[in-house]
Symmetry: C2
Subunit: 333 residues, 2 copies
């Protein structure tokens, strides 16, 4: 009656594009953007988003080391020291799972802006381990990829949480536990997200600092009720239940003041008929869920205009909530 | 794409056992025991349990009043004043939904011990409104029955929460929102509960007082993760997910000291293979979930023995988690 679920086999076979029995020496993987802290799911629920992600090229070496060879794209100022780099730290964790003397050379092409609240720190770690896993004679399973990716992301964020790496590994909406494999939550295919990224930087550490202090049990109850309703809505494709559950009385009120125009951008989404709207990850990006793609596209424009009213440029993504997962896109022997 | 759900029609037709167009003047309803605060679902998740419940007989009168005529059974010391009685207060709330001058005469047969943590306060309110609703020319819907039952229960508990009345109205495992209709969560039919009631009284008010003070955000994250996993496990009939999610780091640690032998009773359940075990409602009853009925029966005996080690007598119930709902059992015109 108990069903052990582990996507390990799936991830491993996905990683092995090279020929039968032939272990590749180079692999390229991409990881999509994602939305962490999905409203009622602080540090617990996240979902991936279609859009430019991070691309990581990994070459297998025999020097037993992890070397960051290059960082390109929209965030070039990242640390080249492996221990301080999210991809590097994740790969250091993978070495004990590889044959002796295995090393990795890494090139990062950043597609997700850091400090955007779109999982930029997580994506490099995830793409790195997914690529490197394809170079191992015995690829590790989902739980290990998840654990290593979380450790990698912690190099940048200062705390370990899986609500970005989980969705990147599995795709779609995901429960991200502190331990054990992440769990995918089915969502209706009509459910779409508008994700608007204002061109202001809000560091994860600063965003976390806003959450210090004590909390009231009553707020937990309100938030839990929302989480339960949202989960029920997703499992039964019930927009009304999702709408009833989509809230954040716990975290959003403390972080909203850090995001210019937040109230107006959220209101613009609600005015378009959003099932709910809140802060993506630690911010400053703002997201909202809708019942169809056309409305989502209109809302993305309105939300962008609401930022613009205060002179803030932004860009936006429109995606199914059932977004893509990280994948190996090329493998050479 | 949006699906409005309301069990109103179901409840109304259920309440109408009398003939076509004939409005009965007397109805008897029973409400089952229930477990509130299901581990990760403090004030939010509850489920009903097969076992002796509260039986309420309601007669329709024309004096515009609610009169408690008799209280029998295992809790005779309850207030006869309608406003202070859970059934009475709930029925006072129903009067504005009835034709002018409608009144109700009520007899309560208490089957659930008060202060047991098995929903004793809630059951009389639920059975009363379900019975009385069958006597109305235009029965109210589920949301109203739920609201009135919560108000009734608050007469005894001092606070309004729906995690006992919700499951009693719908049956099974239920999300109990502060506003709007409760929502049933499907559970696998193999999922059973052992509920052990020690013969010591713990008043709801005292149990609530133990929860005062501030809470850490981290504990809430752990609890939310559990709630999300438990919900996913119930929706997908996955015992492993239910086991991963079944916990209570928020409320159980504060209330456990009020319940003699709690740690040993819980351990007895876990030793039998429980998916999880915690305090039922405000205590002192302890419950645990299992993957099959036979194990549940054995665990109920072991849990009872663990109370007995400290000289505490107890009785136990074994039931599917998908327990029954309140029902009209007899209706006379």
């Amino acid at each position: 009656m108990s069903h052990v679920k582990d996507g390990a086999a799936g991830i491993a076979s996905l990683s092995r594009i090279g020929g039968e029995g032939k272990i590749p020496t180079k692999a390229i993987a991409v990881a999509p953007p994602s939305i962490g802290n999905v409203a009622v799911g602080f540090d617990v629920l996240g979902h991936s988003v279609q859009g430019a992600g991070d691309r990581v090229t990994v070459r297998r070496t025999t020097d037993g080391r992890v070397t960051i060879k290059a960082i390109r794209g929209i965030a070039e100022q990242l640390p080249l020291d492996a221990e301080s780099n999210t991809a590097g730290r994740a790969l250091l964790g993978l070495l004990p799972h590889a044959p002796p003397r295995t090393g990795f050379e890494v090139e990062l092409d950043k597609g997700i802006a850091l400090g955007s609240g779109m999982g930029g720190s997580a994506a490099s770690a995830v793409a790195a381990v997914v690529a490197a896993n394809a170079l191992l004679p015995r690829p590790v399973g989902l739980s290990t990829l998840y654990e290593l990716s979380m450790e990698g992301e912690a190099a940048a964020s200062g705390s370990k949480h899986g609500d970005n790496v989980g969705p990147m590994l599995l795709g779609g909406l995901v429960i991200a536990p502190a331990k054990g494999a992440p769990v995918r939550v089915p969502v209706p295919d009509w459910l779409h997200v508008a994700l608007v990224h204002p061109h202001v930087v809000l560091e994860t550490r600063r965003s976390r600092a806003a959450l210090k202090g004590a909390y009231e049990l009553h707020d937990f109850v309100v938030q839990s009720e929302g989480l339960a309703l949202l989960m029920a809505g997703c499992f039964t494709s019930d927009a009304l239940l999702i709408r009833r559950g989509f809230r954040d009385v716990l975290v959003e009120p403390r972080r909203a003041p850090l995001i210019p125009q937040f109230a107006k951008v959220k209101q613009a989404a609600l005015d378009c008929g959003a099932l709910g709207s809140s802060i993506s990850g630690g911010g400053p990006s703002v997201f909202a869920w809708f019942e169809d793609r056309t409305t989502t596209e209109r809302a993305a424009r309105e939300m962008t205009l609401a930022f613009k009213e205060a002179g803030i440029e932004s860009d936006s993504l429109v995606s199914p909530v059932a977004g893509p997962k990280a994948e190996v896109i090329s493998c050479d022997a």
